[in-house]
């Protein structure tokens, strides 16, 4: 009995310790952000590996999600004789929810895991310690540029995802199912509000980018310096980041759309 209670206590304390470390880590990364302006090339290289190289999976996923949305939306809407509303359905689902959320999940899997594995390996092979020996601050040289790169790339990727999804919906809805092309876009424009829908989606993707990159970089920093530790940290990044994105999305949706 006491063992059970003690194990709950130990788990709670461990969780709090990890959270505290993550918070301190974030503060130290934020404190070294000036490096981003001073040596912009470092961040640029990270934007390339985090953002540009995620582009293909984002575009392909966006296209297919948009096409499937148009298919499914059409099947439901045509029963009510409202197939013309397809554009609105596709655009609203993409811009408000699927764009930011699916992008964040893919981003955690594609870029987050890579970040963690890279940093974990740097720690295991003592590259981070070597940097410190040479009086190079690893927060400035390594963590801050990666953090900023992920934070900047995420909203751009989400916007690309939504835009490509809308085009995918157009391909299926107008090209294949025969919804009127003008109705597709005019319905879309009449239900999608720039402030309420598009900007809310952008805010969501900014928050997700922050959280996913934070988790990924911290997991790499916090990994056990063994090959097993790296694999565990990489898995943790994808699992924790995905759960965090889904949980935060629920809260943000409640805050943004619940009251109205």
């Amino acid at each position: 009995m006491t063992d059970a209670i003690a194990s709950v206590g130990r788990a709670t304390i461990n969780a709090l310790v990890v959270f505290g470390r993550a918070f301190v880590f974030l503060m130290r990364v934020l404190a070294s952000l000036d490096i981003v302006l001073r040596r912009f090339g470092l961040t640029l290289a990270e934007v390339y590996s985090v953002g540009v190289r995620s582009l293909l999976i984002i575009i392909v996923s966006g296209l297919f999600v948009g096409m499937v949305l148009a298919y499914q939306g059409y099947i439901t809407l045509v029963n009510f004789g409202a197939a013309e509303a397809l554009g609105g359905v596709v655009a609203l689902s993409l811009v408000r929810e699927l764009g930011p959320v699916v992008t964040a999940l893919l981003f955690a899997g594609r870029a987050g895991s890579a970040l963690t594995a890279e940093l974990g390996l740097m720690k295991t092979t003592e590259q981070l310690s070597a940097m410190e020996m040479m009086a190079v601050n690893p927060y400035r040289r390594t963590f801050a540029p990666r953090f900023v790169a992920g934070f900047l790339s995420m909203p751009l990727l989400a916007a690309i995802f939504s835009a490509v999804g809308v085009m995918g919906g157009y391909l299926v809805g107008v090209g294949l199912l025969g919804v009127d092309s003008g109705a597709y876009f005019s319905q879309m424009q009449s239900v999608t509000d720039w402030n309420e829908d598009v900007l809310s989606g952008v805010i969501k993707s900014v928050v997700f980018g922050f959280v996913v990159t934070w988790i990924a970089v911290f997991q790499g920093f916090n990994a056990q310096p063994t090959s097993e530790g790296i694999s565990r940290a990489t898995t943790q990044t994808v699992v924790v980041a995905s759960l965090a994105v889904l949980g935060l999305d629920f809260i943000l949706t409640g805050l943004m759309f619940g009251a109205g």
């Binding site: 090339g41 809308v166 509000d193």
Partner: protein, 152 residues
């Protein structure tokens, strides 16, 4: 050479992202509506506005000339006060213009349709539309239909 490629790729990526946002703004959302800054407002009092919402279109003969800026309840007149923001170039509406709440399609969105009268004076900023016609409420219609059926 390697750095040049990075810069090129990242630049293209950022431009693509901004382009996507621009596409969402212009093609997908109604950001163009935010351009009608130059407007004047007139108010109308309705017995029942049905499901009218702010930002709903205001039309004359089906042509969109403005939008619903504000809806509130006036506790003194016991009627709904609807503020219409009409683009300034449409300054030709006569004083006795009639405002009616119509529905686009059977279950569609509600909008305010204006019907110009014959007065020589025109509506100015913060004027009141004298003649209004409420939204059709489906329940009232059904109720009236049922009582008519009963009296036969």
């Amino acid at each position: 050479m390697q750095v040049r490629f990075f810069e090129l790729a990242v630049g293209a990526f950022v431009l693509l992202g901004i382009g996507a946002l621009f596409y969402l703004a212009v093609q997908v959302s109604n950001v163009t509506d935010y351009h009608d800054r130059d407007t004047y407002t007139v108010t109308g009092y309705f017995d029942n506005i049905g499901g009218l919402k702010t930002r709903a279109p205001v039309t004359v003969s089906g042509v969109r000339i403005g939008r619903v800026a504000d809806i509130r309840y006036d506790p003194e007149r016991f009627r709904a006060e609807v503020t219409l923001a009409i683009r300034s170039e449409h300054d030709y509406l006569p004083m006795d213009t009639q405002a009616a709440i119509h529905t686009a399609g059977l279950l569609g969105e509600q909008y305010v349709a204006l019907e110009p009268g014959g007065d020589t004076e025109t509506l100015q900023d913060s004027d009141e539309v004298m003649f209004t016609q409420s939204a059709l409420v489906l329940e009232n219609l059904i109720g009236r239909f049922m009582t008519n059926m009963g009296s036969d």
